[in-house]
């Protein structure tokens, strides 16, 4: 793939983070940075994840095979935003206190889900490079199917915390559902 395109996508995905840092330094993040950071990182983590899942259907549609080369970057960005999201939760909401972490994880299912989603991304991120891909062979693809579970967890995590307007959560779930149906139809055809 053209390095200019890859570079552009890299910087586009980094923009929300740059905005985050700028807003925190300049004060534009407002009086409650906890809410601000959680919101921005949660939103962009979900969007990168969704985009990474939409790469395959888009590739088929456009016939542009090189799109596949963007998938790993999008997946790693999703993981990156999930890490900042989790760190910010640990910092602002539980003050890095283990006992509160345990209580939150056990008592609040949507936090359990979100954490499980992050945890399942961990092996995917660690095995995302080419040498791991080679070493794992066929198992690599099997392992990376975990991303569907990650997506289910992530989007339910979002839907679960909606207070009164379900618009955005609905959009993610619709696109994700559509992607699943598309894959299922392709799978049926291939069998």
């Amino acid at each position: 793939m053209n390095p200019v395109i890859r570079g552009t996508v890299f910087f586009l995905c980094l923009l929300p983070f740059a905005y985050l840092v700028f807003a925190l330094v300049s004060g534009a993040a407002g009086p409650d940075p906890a809410e601000f950071i959680m919101h921005v990182t949660g939103e962009w983590g979900a969007r990168c994840l969704l985009l990474s899942l939409l790469i395959s259907p888009l590739r088929k549609w456009t016939g542009w095979g090189a799109l596949l080369k963007l998938r790993r970057m999008l997946g790693l960005y999703a993981f990156f935003y999930a890490c900042v999201h989790l760190a910010s939760f640990a910092h602002f909401y539980v003050g890095w206190t283990l006992s509160i972490v345990v209580e939150e994880l056990l008592e609040r299912p949507y936090i359990t889900l979100g954490f499980a989603g992050w945890f399942l991304m961990l092996p995917l991120a660690l095995t995302s490079n080419r040498s791991m891909q080679r070493r794992l062979g066929k198992n690599w693809q099997r392992l990376h199917r975990l991303v569907y579970l990650v997506a289910v967890f992530a989007f339910c995590h979002i839907l679960w915390q909606v207070r009164s307007d379900i618009g955005e959560a609905l959009l993610y779930l619709t696109l994700f559902g559509w992607m699943l149906i598309w894959r299922y139809i392709r799978y049926r055809k291939s069998v």
Binding site: L24, G30, P31, D32, P33, A34, E35, F36, H91, F92, Y93, G95, I100, E103, E104, E107, R108, Y110, W160, Q161, R163, S164, D165, I166, G167, L170
Partner: protein, 325 residues
């Protein structure tokens, strides 16, 4: 000097409506006196979004709950970080879009179980009551909090003018609902049944802490903070402090409130600040006192009744607050 109030000692839901009824005359006298006393007062109500000067009695350091010397949350933060879902669910949406609401002319309709139902025009609100400053803690159900210097008058004075009947056991409030001016209510995916509704038990409404606010930081309210007139109930979660009120209805039965209707497991009718009862989705044991920063998150323990227990705990004696959350 500040007028001190008595902490209710034997208040309970059963006897209060009657006592309120019996107290009616003294409230009426107080209300009438206030109306005469402030005839010289000049209050300017702006079309748009607050900032007009008000004449009021400043809060002074005292032992009562009308004042706190905790650090104030800066005015800029109070007016930029808001929940007012009529203008969108984002924290900065109200500050961005609330100017689309016109707050003058404005009137509040007082109906239901009252001897003299009627309308109170904004001019009557601004000039008809002695305005005073109250520095209150505001605890949002989302686990953040502020300290805000409000300007307003006790709700009890307003209610007294309309002569609640013996059947008046609850007060229901409604926010303006005008999709043309409130873009949040035009969202197709919003699951709130507008208009926004809130309610109090009569004894809660008559408590001296319960304030009808028309200003903050000495100026009229910015639209996003609930202009031109809003409720402030400092011992309850912020969503009880309904904004931009157009209707007050006194009822015999408990009114259905917006959040309670939407998610009864998560938001109760009482919604008293209570660190012992967590929201199902997050802890209420602590709060972020705003402004908070990355290096100083400012997490502090949440107090029962938001620190106003001495004044209001008696209202709920004998009630299981884990059940009636």
């Amino acid at each position: 000097m500040h007028k001190r109030f008595n902490v209710p000692t034997i208040a309970s839901s059963e006897i209060t409506p009657e006592s309120v009824y019996l107290d009616r005359r003294s409230f009426m006298r107080a209300g009438a006196g206030a109306a005469l006393a402030v005839s010289g007062m000049k209050a300017v109500a702006g079309k748009g979004t607050g900032g007009a000067s008000l004449d009021y009695r400043e809060a002074r350091k005292s032992d009562d709950a009308f004042f706190t010397d905790e650090d104030l949350t800066p005015a800029q933060d109070v007016s930029s970080y808001c929940n007012f879902y009529e203008f969108g669910t984002g924290k900065t949406d109200p500050a961005s879009y609330a100017h689309e609401m016109s707050v003058d002319p404005w009137s509040i309709e007082v109906i239901g179980e009252v001897g003299k139902p009627g309308k109170l025009h904004l001019e009557d609100v601004m000039s008809g009551f002695d305005l005073e400053e109250r520095i209150y803690r505001l605890r949002c159900v989302e686990a953040w909090s502020m300290v805000v210097p409000w300007v307003g008058f006790p709700l009890s004075q307003l209610l007294a003018r309309f002569e609640p009947t013996s059947k008046a056991k609850y007060v229901e409030f409604r926010t303006l609902h005008d999709p043309g001016q409130m873009r949040g209510t035009r969202s197709f995916t919003s699951i709130i049944d507008w208009p926004y509704r809130e309610g109090l038990r009569m004894d809660e409404a008559m408590n001296p802490l319960t304030l009808m606010a028309v200003g903050l930081y000495g100026k009229t309210l910015p639209n996003q903070n609930g202009a031109p007139v809003r409720l402030v109930v400092p011992w309850k979660y912020g969503f009880k402090s309904i904004k931009s009120i157009v209707q007050v209805r006194l009822t015999e039965t408990r009114p259905a409130t917006s959040w309670e209707t939407l998610a009864p497991r998560e938001y109760g009718f009482y919604a008293n600040v209570n660190p012992q009862v967590d929201h199902p989705r997050w802890s209420q044991k602590q709060e972020r006192r705003l402004p908070s920063t990355v290096f100083r998150p400012n997490r502090i323990p949440t107090q029962p009744f938001n620190g106003y227990g001495e004044q209001v705990a008696g209202l709920y004696s004998g009630m299981d607050l884990k059940k009636h959350f």
